[in-house]
């Protein structure tokens, strides 16, 4: 079996499972946030069960519209606080957490080998730690609250084998954009995407999270990376739960894959996803002359300390172009504090960027930093759909923190290697 099949077999009490089989899996952890949680709470109340199945296995994180930007959002937050209090569930409120997919592993809620569901499509991020993690809707979250179980079809798996060393200013974000560009936005629908190879072995947790985070952008059910010493180091001191033997979380030599795809990153250039589809990917050098009004560095894809360091490296001693607004949003309070201690926030502020509190921000067009008609934003986030960040007439380009920072300086989409060559 491959690693995903092993986890689903264990969760459903079976020795072996096969792709296509529907299993009833026990859920080890569930997360809901402020936009999907309220519907789940409403649905849960209708089921007629008083207490959730296990209040140690559920987490509420407020991150999408925080701090509340409207009375409506404030009411939703109030609903979630009340639910957390009634059910005695851990809640990460404003100023205590940050973006759900950063907070979950940071605070030790992600354990390798476990089944985690979240009422958010980017729940697949936790595959970076060797957990089976997938996004669900609110009603299904309510059913999990009541029963602790979920039906899952065991997915076919695609192996994505990555070799080579990244060049300077080429990042895991460029890799995943390149993968999605080749696979297409429905290239892995219903499937598991397993990232393997020496490049993945050498990759930081932050980079692995960026890869697994965007697995859903090619339709995947989950992204998955075998846990190793890098995983162990990150989790040490964060979780009180016993870690499983990682040897049991490796794909067997005779594991079945629908196909294997090879990527060599050694000659890869910085990549960009052009409007309005995440698979509309090309090298930044071929993007042409695109003027921008906004640059956004943050989100569950690229708001980690490694991402902010990279952006700061590009922005240090430079100024954001006069007619450009640059927003920097650390993914969590922990990342925020680290960036503060390292002097990164000063670099951003000196450059003329605004640093906002840890939240999803403009990524989903619901809170701050929305776009007007005909405006262009280059963003480190994960989606560039029509209307994603505000006006349906605005355009969003997706790129790495280095590319976004370089573009903020020049006022147009810029290859970070070019900016450095000029300096």
């Amino acid at each position: 079996m491959n690693i995903t099949e092993k986890m689903l077999a264990k969760a459903s009490g079976k020795q072996v499972v096969y792709s296509g089989e529907i299993v009833d899996a026990n859920v080890d952890m569930i997360m809901v946030h402020d936009l999907t949680g309220p519907l789940a709470v409403e649905a849960f109340k209708k089921i007629g069960v008083q207490k959730i199945w296990d209040n140690q296995k559920a987490v509420v994180i407020l991150d999408h519209q925080v701090p509340a930007e409207s009375v409506r959002a404030a009411e939703l937050h109030k609903t979630m606080r009340q639910f957390a209090q009634d059910q005695k569930i851990r809640i990460y409120d404003v100023g205590r957490g940050g973006i759900c997919h950063q907070v979950m592993p940071e605070k030790g809620h992600v354990v390798p080998g476990t089944v985690i569901v979240g009422a958010d499509s980017h729940t697949c991020t936790y595959g970076a730690f060797g957990a089976f993690a997938t996004g669900i809707g609110s009603t299904e979250a309510a059913a999990v609250f009541a029963t602790g179980k979920i039906w899952l079809k065991v997915p076919e798996a695609i192996k994505i084998n990555v070799t080579g060393e990244f060049q300077k200013y080429v990042t895991p974000k460029d890799l995943i954009l390149s993968i999605i560009g080749r696979m297409g936005v429905d290239g892995a629908t219903y499937k598991s995407t397993e990232f393997t190879g020496p490049t993945i072995k050498n990759m930081s947790i932050a980079g692995r999270m960026t890869l697994c985070n965007m697995a859903v952008e090619m339709g995947a059910k989950n992204g998955i990376i075998e846990p190793d010493e890098t995983t162990r180091k990150f989790l040490e001191g964060r979780t009180s739960k016993a870690l499983p033997n990682f040897e049991s979380l490796k794909s067997d030599k005779d594991a079945v894959y629908e196909r294997t795809i090879e990527f060599d990153v050694s000659k890869m250039e910085p990549q960009i996803a052009c409007p309005s589809s995440v698979d509309n990917v090309k090298p930044v050098s071929e993007a042409g002359n695109v003027q921008i009004e906004q640059a956004f560095i943050g989100s569950c894809t690229n708001g980690r300390i490694e991402d902010l360091r990279l952006a700061a490296q590009v922005l240090k001693g430079k100024r954001v172009k006069d007619n450009v607004r640059a927003l920097v949003i650390p993914a969590s309070q922990e990342v925020y504090k680290q960036a503060l201690n390292e002097g990164l926030l000063e670099i951003f502020t000196d450059a003329g960027a605004i640093v906002c509190g840890s939240a999803c921000g403009p990524c989903l067009g619901g809170h701050i930093g929305l776009l007007a008609a005909d405006e262009v934003c280059v963003s480190t986030s994960n989606r560039n759909f029509i209307g994603r960040m505000g006006s349906t007439k605005a355009s969003v380009y997706l790129a790495s923190p280095a590319t976004v920072a370089a573009s903020a300086v020049t006022g147009k989409i810029t290859d970070p290697r070019k900016l450095e060559a000029k300096a």
């Binding site: 529907i22 936009l35 999907t36 309220p38 519907l39 409403e42 649905a43 209708k46 089921i47 007629g48 069960v49 999408h64 519209q65 409207s70 409506r72 959002a73 939703l76 009422a119 958010d120 499509s121 729940t123 996004g135 669900i136 809707g137 609110s138 009603t139 299904e140 309510a142 059913a143 009541a146 029963t147 039906w151 936005v185 429905d186 629908t189 219903y190 339709g219 059910k221 589809s277 989903l364 067009g365 619901g366 929305l370 989606r383 759909f385 029509i386 209307g387 994603r388 505000g390 349906t392």
Partner: protein
């Protein structure tokens, strides 16, 4: 839920994402009929008006990709969409739709055989879809019995209530 339905089609393309089905800025709306006023407003602000009388949405590949927001299928359902037929669906949207009692069926070949305005009938139990206007018939894989049961009950919550009460 009625296991046989009939209505005119409104057709959309490939990769219809949940951000165009229900833009993020309306996610704080809690009333399903309020959500419905913005259904598919990312592509056609007049859609809720057109859907009012009860319609069937036909899509291409990967319908409902993107965000897990259940507000997307809710907005469609309460706008008047009786069913979504597509070449393929994004998995979270598919589950969400079934779970809220909005029938969705994967139907290979439908995209090229339907135009907006065509009269469509769907028989869920038999797995039969017909484009009456063009006299085209499709046989699809029937949904597994437990999904049909969820739809027949009107959604996962109603289904769960019934099952939990039985115990």
């Amino acid at each position: 839920m009625n296991m046989k339905i009939k209505g005119p089609a409104i057709k959309f393309g490939n990769n219809i994402d949940t951000d165009v089905i229900l833009p993020g800025q309306f996610m704080t709306l809690v009333d399903s009929y309020e959500l419905a006023k913005h259904a598919l407003s990312g592509l056609d602000p007049a859609f809720p008006d057109k859907a009012k009388k009860g319609i069937i949405v036909v899509g291409g590949k990967n319908f409902g990709c993107g965000s897990s927001r259940e507000q997307a299928p809710l907005a469609l359902k309460y706008a008047g969409v009786k069913c979504v037929l597509a070449e393929s669906f994004a998995r979270i949207f598919f589950r969400n739709a079934i779970n809220i009692g909005l029938p969705v069926i994967e139907c290979k070949g439908i995209f090229n055989e339907v135009e907006t305005g065509d009269e469509i009938t769907v028989d869920f139990e038999a797995g039969k879809i017909e484009n009456i206007s063009k006299d085209k018939k499709f046989q699809v894989d029937k949904l597994p019995p437990f999904m049909l049961e969820i739809l027949a009950d009107g959604g996962l919550i109603e289904n769960l209530r019934r099952r939990l009460n039985k115990k």
